[in-house]
């Protein structure tokens, strides 16, 4: 029986999972949409992973979680490591590309740039708390253009004359877009314009002041959009690497961090049959009215957080 480690990356849009062996090689990986229900998404993900997992030769001894729901899922799965997605991505990516110097990452509601030198992270930046120019933005605009998100990049590539669009703010972009549609710009040109706007917004805001050097790796859900990839290559002048497993980099990194942590917490896939519940309640004990999050397993409290002071603490 050999040891295996699982990494789970629960983002706003998608949920990713990988299982690796002791040499950090991926044994299996899965990807699905979060659809606003991280708990259900993780249960589904676990069932998918279980189906592909070689339980006769391996056993999972530790879990790492990352992504915006990392704390929640970490509490539910009794994770050995709960780590932010920047660190997880950096660890996962250097494992695939040891010589990477720049990582672009655009996810559902975050976008970030990570700068590495000699395999070590030296700088990074993240979008401010506003989600402009991220996956959520593309999904919105795709819906308005009546294009499937999956087709968006391909349609953009057919454009010969990208329409200039203001992408600083989703709301402004939308009114700009409506106007451009009304004056007869084609869907192709608008899609290409949006891709370019996203890239310019990223380079002028998130990546401002950062020295972009090749090799450049592009990750996150938006990296699946070939239109954005091409726009990045045009604007930076460097080839932009998009990995087949790029979407799994965060989960991979989380699994590696779980392995490195050296904490053994065996995991059983039967958790998918266990009743799990999450509640977010306003505390109401003072004017701060904190939102206190409680996680229950089979009716028993597992963990709680969110309170700014003792008054809001919840105990079993």
């Amino acid at each position: 029986m050999k040891n295996a480690f699982m990494g789970i990356d629960v983002g706003s849009i998608s949920t990713k999972g990988t299982i690796i062996d002791e040499n950090d090689r991926i044994l299996c990986g899965e990807y699905l949409y979060t659809k606003g229900d991280p708990l259900e998404a993780v249960k589904k993900l676990l069932r998918l992973l279980e189906a592909r997992f070689d339980a006769e030769n391996y056993r999972i001894v530790a879990i790492g979680t990352t992504g915006s729901a990392r704390k929640l899922i970490g509490a539910v799965l009794n994770a050995a490591v709960i780590k932010n997605e920047i660190t997880a991505h950096a660890v996962g990516t250097t494992n695939i590309h040891p010589d990477v110097r720049t990582i672009f990452e655009i996810g559902g509601q975050d976008s970030k740039i990570i700068i590495l030198r000699n395999g070590v992270v030296t700088d990074y930046a993240m979008n401010t708390l506003c989600a402009a120019g991220t996956g959520a933005f593309i999904s919105n605009q795709a819906a308005r253009l009546d294009i499937r998100v999956e087709d968006f990049g391909g349609i953009a590539l057919r454009s010969t004359d990208p329409t200039p669009i203001a992408a600083r703010c989703t709301v402004f972009a939308e009114s700009d877009l409506v106007h451009k549609l009304q004056i007869g710009c084609s869907k192709e040109d608008i899609a290409a314009g949006l891709c370019r706007a996203i890239v310019l917004n990223y380079l002028n805001n998130v990546a401002k002041g950062k020295k972009i050097e090749p090799p450049v790796v592009f990750q996150g859900g938006v990296s699946k959009n070939i239109g954005v990839v091409k726009a990045f290559e045009n604007e930076t002048g460097y080839p932009v690497i998009v990995d087949e497993n790029g979407h799994l980099a965060g989960a991979w990194g989380a699994a590696i961090l779980a392995r490195r942590a050296g904490i053994i917490r065996p995991f059983d896939f039967r958790i998918t049959d266990v009743e799990l519940k999450i509640t977010g309640k306003s505390c109401g004990r003072c004017a701060n009215n904190c939102e206190v999050i409680c996680v229950y397993r089979e009716g028993a409290l597992v963990d709680s957080w969110g309170n700014r002071c003792e008054r809001g603490s919840v105990t079993a």
Partner: protein, 306 residues
């Protein structure tokens, strides 16, 4: 501005033997009440300010809202500070609040009644306070001395922290953001939770900062506090591992100054936190946690490569 002038103001009223009440620490309720009365486009800090006004309306005879506008060669304050006394009187005109104010305004226009130095500005409140000019002058001098001493001691404490061991980050932001219990404090606590020492860039000798800021910007930068913060960066940057920029959305001065900082401060990790009263701390936690990771990664890299 209370965090900048609190000792002066409180000592002043104490010296005159007058009762005063302070508004409570900022909480969500204060922000909500402030947001309800202020124009939606106003910044987070001014919404909080108005929330504090609301909390005081029924608790005092008179609201003390200094008019801190133009500090001459040292620079100016953001327009909101110029507007607060009049804005408060206007927003709550049904309640007819009495407002006590003094004006710092060196703009030199003739119709400024109280243009001049701080002492003259304080003395001009004598009639409103029902005290003699002499009483007010003495109270001001006593309070000013206390305030200067308190600020000196605060600087000495920060200086010792900066000279100490361990991981240190420089906190750059208006003290009404950094010191605020609802917006700044949770961030300070989170940083301390990771074992880093937080150095407040406001804690510098102000005259020195007025010279030092020119290393990062040219002399046209108008805002007094922004100049001092840049001076604080110059003063502390060799002794810290990273910088956190804390801004309440939307802040005009910060939008320019933060950009200057990111361009002019060379090879140092900078975390830019833009807050708009979000309830969830998750986004902020992610950013702080990853920022600390980067600081640690850099250390490891230096050891490995050095």
């Amino acid at each position: 501005m209370y965090y900048r002038n609190g000792v002066l103001w409180e000592s002043f009223f104490k010296a005159l033997g007058m009762d005063y009440v302070l508004s409570p620490k900022t909480n969500k309720g204060i922000l909500e009440r402030g947001s309800a009365v202020m124009a939606d486009e106003s910044c987070l800090a001014s919404k909080i300010f108005m929330g504090h006004v609301v909390s005081l309306l029924d608790r005092c005879d008179c609201l003390f809202i200094p008019w801190l506008s133009n500090f001459g060669e040292c620079g100016i304050n953001c327009t909101r500070f110029r507007a607060f006394p009049a804005m408060t009187a206007n927003l709550f005109r049904d309640r007819e609040p009495r407002i006590l104010t003094y004006a710092i305004d060196y703009s030199g226009t003739q119709d400024m009644k109280h243009a001049g130095d701080e002492e003259t500005a304080f003395v001009s409140m004598a009639k409103a306070l029902g005290k003699s000019k002499k009483q007010v002058r003495l109270a001001y001098r006593e309070a000013k001395e206390k305030a200067e001493r308190a600020f000196y001691e605060q600087r000495e404490r920060t200086q010792r922290l900066a000279d100490g061991d361990g991981k240190k980050i420089l906190m750059v932001g208006h003290d009404y953001c950094i010191c605020d219990d609802y917006i700044g404090k949770p961030i300070l606590e989170a940083l301390k939770g990771y074992g880093v020492t937080v150095i407040d860039a406001n804690h510098v000798d102000r005259a020195e900062a007025q010279r030092d800021f020119l290393q990062l910007s040219d002399g046209t930068l108008p805002w007094i506090v922004s100049r001092e913060l840049l001076g604080g960066i110059v003063h502390f940057r060799d002794r810290v591992d990273g910088i956190v920029l804390l801004t309440g959305f939307p802040c005009g001065p910060d939008s320019i100054v933060n950009d200057v900082i990111r361009r002019e401060v060379g090879d140092m990790p900078i975390l830019y936190l833009l807050l708009d009263g979000q309830d969830g701390m998750a986004g902020v936690e992610t950013r702080i946690e990853s920022f600390i990771d980067i600081l640690n990664f850099r250390d490891m890299g230096e050891r490995r490569n050095g």
